[in-house]
Structure formats: structure tokens, C-alpha cells
């Protein structure tokens, strides 16, 4: 069996004060999945962004969905990918 590296990226608007939501989600992922995620990347950006992607697939976009994601929705999506 070949191990697959799974990577989460959180792109957040650094001008909008979204650090708290970013860190909360990163912490949730760290505690839930530990070393089963190869990387959690935090990308400071602008323009009201709050995007979360897993292995290049967009799980949540503030522009697309509106608002912040529920951490449980993100962990559910990640769990489903890890067990696929």
C-alpha cells in the first residue's frame, strides 16, 4: 500500500482580522488528525478571503459559500478523504 500525503491549505485575509478563525481551524485539524495530514499551510492574503482546500480541492470559499466554515464540516470532509 502506498502512503498518500494529504495537505490542507487555509488562505485567509490578513487585512480583515481573520487570524482567530484561521488558528481555530488549524488547531482543530491538528488535534483531530495529527500526523495523518502531511501539512497544514496558512496563507496570509487579502480581499476578504477565507478559503480552505484539501489536496487542491476547494472545501470552502468565503466568496462561494459566504461566511466562515463550521470546523466540523471541514473535519468531516478531511476524514472522508483520509479513509477513502
Amino acid at each position: 500500500m502506498t502512503a498518500i500525503a494529504h495537505k490542507v491549505k487555509i488562505t485567509y485575509c490578513a487585512e480583515c482580522g481573520y487570524e482567530a478563525q484561521t488558528l481555530e481551524l488549524a488547531k482543530t485539524l491538528m488535534l483531530e488528525f495529527g500526523a495523518r495530514l502531511s501539512c497544514i499551510e496558512l496563507i496570509p492574503w487579502e480581499g476578504g478571503t477565507f478559503d480552505v482546500s484539501l489536496d487542491g480541492d476547494l472545501l470552502h470559499s468565503m466568496t462561494r459559500e459566504g461566511g466562515f466554515p463550521k470546523p466540523a464540516a471541514i473535519t468531516d470532509a478531511v476524514r472522508a478523504r483520509l479513509s477513502a
Binding site: K9, E15, C16, G17, W45, E46, D51, G56, L58
Partner: protein, 199 residues
């Protein structure tokens, strides 16, 4: 919830607001220095029959506050005709709920203009629509001129770190180039509201 003199006076003066900022004060003060008020605009504010009260909702992490509050600050300082009081958005949700952008977003800054009897003359939220429009067009032009940036609608995390840095530099340059236009638009819109005060 109504705004009266007692509530208004609980707000921070512009200088007191700056003193309590935990970040971005240097950027705010740099923008303050860059505001270029025309003689006509300044004369219009100085000619107001009496001082107009301006309630502000702000937070120091917000880019639009850092860009636009200094324009109001300079107008107040240079004209002597605006009495500004600033409230932190996240500690004054009752005021924020009254001035939601499109009835749903807690966009800031919010500037609310009142006469002496606290009758509202008008309010202003976030940034002029004309500025949003011009910057959206300029952003589109940047992506058209740089195919390496990909689609303007694609998630930014699909770009390499090096490409992201180059894109960010282009966007910063574009914003710098449009600051003069943006400030002039803010002044034009604030002047239109402030001059509604009755003689």
C-alpha cells in the same frame, strides 16, 4: 437604539482612537499624510454653518478603516468643522446592527453624520462603489497581462509561493496607483453628506 449626545460622547476622539490601536497605526498615519485635500473641498467643509457630528465604527485590523478613516481625520483636523467620535465595532454591536452593509454585512468603516439635535444627515459605509469598480477592473487587467497568475477567480493557494508574492506586489502597486482617486472619491461622498446640514 438611538444615538444621543450621551452615547455619542462615549466614543473615542480620533487621537484617542489612534492611541489605543494595537496594530497598523503606522499605516494609518502614513495614509493621513498622503491625503491631498483640494482648496474647494476644504472650503466647503469650512463653510459648514456649524460643526457636524460624525459617529464612526472602526477596528484597527480592517484595511478599509486604515485607508479611509485618515481621510475623515484630515477633513476634521483641517476644517475644524467635524466632531468625530469613534466606536469599536466589536464592542458596539447595537450600533453596528443599525448600519449593516446591504442589511447583512458588518462592513467598516461606517461614518454617520448628525446635526446638533442628532438628526441623521446620512451615513457612509466601507468605501465608494466607484473605487471598488475601478480596482476590480485594474485587477482584471493585471491578470490579463500576467497569464502566470492564472484565472482571477481561481483560489489563490493554487499559485506557487513565488507567483503569489509577485501577484501581491502587482496588487499593492495597483492600490498605490489608485489611492489619489480613492481619497478624492471618499472626500466627494463625505462632502455631499456633510453639506446636508441646514444653515
Amino acid at each position: 437604539m438611538t444615538i444621543d449626545r450621551v452615547r455619542f460622547d462615549q466614543g473615542l476622539t480620533y487621537e484617542a482612537y489612534k492611541d489605543q490601536m494595537t496594530r497598523n497605526r503606522d499605516r494609518l498615519e502614513e495614509n493621513e499624510q498622503r491625503v491631498d485635500l483640494s482648496a474647494q473641498d476644504l472650503a466647503a467643509f469650512r463653510a459648514l454653518p456649524r460643526a457636524v457630528k460624525v459617529l464612526v465604527l472602526a477596528e484597527d485590523w480592517c484595511g478599509d478603516v486604515i485607508a479611509n478613516l485618515p481621510v475623515l481625520g484630515r477633513l476634521a483636523k483641517d476644517s475644524g468643522k467635524l466632531d468625530v467620535r469613534i466606536f469599536l465595532r466589536d464592542q458596539n454591536d447595537d450600533i453596528m446592527q443599525r448600519y449593516l452593509n446591504k442589511g447583512q454585512f458588518k462592513s467598516i468603516p461606517v461614518f454617520v453624520f448628525f446635526d446638533d439635535d442628532f438628526r441623521e444627515l446620512g451615513h457612509w459605509i466601507e468605501r465608494p462603489a466607484s473605487v471598488t469598480e475601478v480596482r476590480a477592473k485594474r485587477r482584471k487587467d493585471i491578470f490579463a497581462a500576467h497569464p502566470e497568475f492564472g484565472s482571477p477567480d481561481a483560489p489563490i493557494d493554487q499559485l506557487s509561493e513565488e507567483t503569489r508574492v509577485r501577484l501581491q506586489a502587482e496588487l499593492t502597486k495597483m492600490r498605490d496607483e489608485t489611492v489619489k482617486f480613492a481619497n478624492a472619491e471618499v472626500v466627494r461622498e463625505l462632502r455631499e453628506i456633510a453639506t446636508r446640514v441646514a444653515a
